[in-house]
């Protein structure tokens, strides 16, 4: 966009633009101080409107909102992870080994996922990926440097290994192999990711393959 989008800056501030317009204006703003200043003046106007509507809820409301999810963190987990906890519970019961220690381990593993994610994702963009069966997965895209997957999946069967792919324009690009161990693992991707790409994980023969041979167990758009 070479011309200044002056007339549309107020609409941009209000959110009354479509995705294409928003992107074009955002691109223009990066290089144009005049339009940034104009946008700031509209944002200041809207800040005044926001101030006028704001109202503090009772003190306890915030606490209740956070505690509800913290207390119910099993419930609050994404559905697939919830399913995993049920599956885990059933398996434990069947084997009659559902000891407190093991449940604690399972819980610690969950915490491990959150901890690892928080650790590697500082200042990065996190894309939660969909897992087909059990587990959780996220794609972490740092501002600079290598993107990576954080996986919390069931241990792969003997002789198998999780392999990461970046699917660009329908073509899968090999992107890395997950360490063959249980628990939360990091998979640094050997290729960059861009908007429109799909990150995916398949279960393959240990050592990896040139082309995915099975349906993804994890996938998500970037």
């Amino acid at each position: 966009m070479n011309e200044h989008p002056t007339d549309d800056l107020s609409l941009y501030a209000l959110g009354l633009v479509d995705a294409g317009e928003r992107e074009a204006i955002a691109r223009h703003l990066v290089t144009c101080a005049t339009c940034r200043e104009e946008l700031r003046s509209y944002q200041a106007t809207l800040a005044t409107l926001a101030d006028a509507a704001e109202l503090e809820a009772g003190r306890a409301v915030r606490e209740r909102i956070v505690q509800r999810e913290r207390r119910g963190s099993w419930r609050g987990l994404p559905r697939v992870a919830l399913a995993l906890s049920f599956v885990a519970a059933v398996v434990f019961a069947a084997l009659a080994v559902a000891s407190v220690r093991q449940l604690d381990e399972l819980r610690a593993q969950r915490d491990e996922y959150a901890r690892v994610l928080t650790e590697v994702a500082e200042g990065a963009r996190i894309v939660a990926l969909t897992t087909k069966t059990n587990g959780r997965a996220a794609l972490v895209v740092p501002r600079d440097g290598q993107p990576m997957l954080v996986l919390d999946l069931p241990a792969p069967p003997a002789g198998k290994q999780y392999e990461a792919w970046v699917i660009r324009g329908g073509t899968p690009i090999r992107a890395g192999l997950a360490p063959q161990r249980e628990g939360v693992v990091l998979v640094p991707l050997s290729t960059s990711v861009a908007a429109g790409d799909v990150a995916a994980v398949t279960l393959e023969l240990a050592g990896g393959v040139d082309q995915p041979t099975s349906d993804p167990v994890v996938a998500g758009g970037v």
Binding site: L16, T45, T48, L49, I65, E69, A81, R125, T130
Partner: protein
């Protein structure tokens, strides 16, 4: 100039990170989102619902929905603020249809659903506590005021406003531009 209630471009990433952290099961991130947007969400709910108690109940429902639906958030469709306000609006409508109905049984149903989504002027009356802003909005022609209120306080998209006001999208945008020019002038003059 400090603009804590908006979403400056640099903070959009922060919002998206908070949503992603919610999706990953981090309840503290939900608390941080509440710190950023709880006041405006509660202010609007207070305007949409019959009592402060109902607004407190629904603000909790709304943030619970945010938690459960964090994975579905799609940045391409709009800012986190807009998404949050849309969730709050829907939570308010749900409340009116279920719990609200119980407390207002004597009211005709159509009146109840009508009030679930009050007219823009009604919303201004109930949400805007600053006389200066109220006057500035009142000085706008009604159709311009409506566009600003629906988009800003309720997070409606341009298509939704066009549908609701029975006007083409181009007209909606024209009204919004004029309204913003006037509001900027009025509110800046009085600073």
């Amino acid at each position: 100039m400090s603009q804590p209630h908006l979403v400056p471009v640099a903070e959009i990433d922060l919002d998206r990170d908070l949503i992603a952290r919610c999706a990953a099961g981090d309840a503290d991130a939900l608390g941080l989102l509440y710190d950023r947007y709880g006041r405006v969400v509660f202010g609007v709910l207070h305007a949409l619902l019959p009592s402060p108690e109902a607004a407190e109940e629904v603000v909790q429902d709304a943030f619970h929905s945010v938690w459960r639906r964090a994975r579905d958030y799609d940045a391409a469709k709009g800012s986190v603020r807009t998404w949050l306000l849309a969730i709050a609006r829907n939570a308010a409508i749900d409340w009116r249809r279920t719990r609200g109905k119980r407390s207002e049984r004597e009211r005709p149903l159509e009146e109840v659903s009508e009030r679930a989504d009050p007219a823009a002027d009604d919303l201004v009356e109930r949400a805007v506590r600053s006389e200066r802003v109220r006057d500035a909005l009142a000085a706008l022609p009604p159709e311009q005021r409506e566009v600003v209120v629906l988009s800003y306080y309720l997070g409606y998209t341009q298509e939704e406003i066009a549908q609701r006001t029975h006007a083409p999208v181009g007209t909606v945008k024209g009204r919004a531009r004029l309204a913003m020019l006037k509001l900027r002038q009025t509110l800046a003059e009085e600073r």
